[in-house]
């Protein structure tokens, strides 16, 4: 089933990571920034799975298992924080979220 080289998989992973990073830098909506963060996380798991497959080891796959769990927890907490902030400030634009107090 496999034919593409490890280089190709790592290149795709790095490309997705770069796109996610660009999104974090240029977008202003906190929710979209959060989505781009998730994309970066998943891009890194692609690299882990590819390394694991091409080395014949199991550890990378197991790490991805944990990363998925922690990412789900992270999304729940992050969105709860965004909702709590929106209740206070009525905005999710990062330009308006520039102070921790008040």
């Amino acid at each position: 089933m496999i034919s593409a080289s490890l280089n190709a998989y790592i290149a795709v992973s790095a490309l997705l990571f770069a796109i996610g990073f660009l999104g974090v830098l240029v977008r202003r909506n906190t929710l979209v920034i959060f989505m781009c963060l998730e994309l970066m996380l998943i891009a890194s798991t692609l690299a882990l799975v590819a390394f694991s497959r091409f080395n014949g080891t199991m550890d990378g796959n197991t790490f991805v298992f944990f990363i998925l769990t922690v990412a789900a927890a992270e999304v729940a907490v992050g969105l709860a924080i965004i909702v709590a902030y929106f209740r206070k400030k009525q905005t999710v634009q990062v330009d308006h979220i520039n102070e921790l107090k008040n």
Binding site: M1, A11, G23, R53, N55, F66
Partner: protein, 168 residues
């Protein structure tokens, strides 16, 4: 054939990832995230990690993206105009993108990752038994810690999303 599938899935996920960054509407961005995850799950399948592809779809497409869409609709952020990015931020974004592109190009052209191909390497990630063996022997403590983390997350989210009544 497999090479063609790899190309299709990687281009698909990259295009949809670009769609997240470029779309004006948050709901569209969430849908693009879902499509991009589909492409990445296809790449996982091409790497013989069937369980991980399934889990990715289950956890991300099933729970995370649904949560995102739910929050986007709950908050009703609208398409309100926001002040334009400063020149410094735009420059920083471009410089960061150029650096990442340079790094990507350098290892794509001169990288030493070129493995002899996966044809002779056993696909250990394809069997469920391998996951179970790893998770219940070597990684037993991390599994328990992650379970505890999920419990803490549940309590934390309940506390965070509770309406403050007494104190403003």
């Amino acid at each position: 054939m497999a090479h063609l599938l790899f190309l299709v899935f990687s281009v698909f996920s990259a295009v949809c990832a670009a769609g997240i960054v470029l779309s004006r509407n948050s709901v569209n961005a969430a849908m693009f995230l879902l499509l991009s995850l589909l492409g990445i799950a296809g790449l996982f399948v091409s790497l013989d990690a069937f369980l991980l592809a399934f889990l990715l779809l289950l956890v991300y497409a099933g729970a995370v993206v649904a949560l995102f869409v739910f929050i986007v609709m709950l908050l009703d952020t609208g398409g309100g105009t926001s002040p334009a990015r400063s020149l410094v931020a735009k420059l920083a974004g471009l410089v960061a993108l150029a650096l990442i592109a340079a790094g990507l190009g350098s290892f794509a052209l001169r990288g030493r990752l070129a493995a002899p191909g996966a044809a002779g390497i056993p696909a250990v990630g394809a069997s469920l038994k391998a996951y179970a063996y790893q998770l219940f022997t070597l990684y037993l403590l991390p599994v328990e810690i992650v379970g505890f983390l999920l419990l803490i997350t549940m309590i934390g989210v309940i506390v965070l999303s509770r309406k403050e009544e007494g104190n403003p």
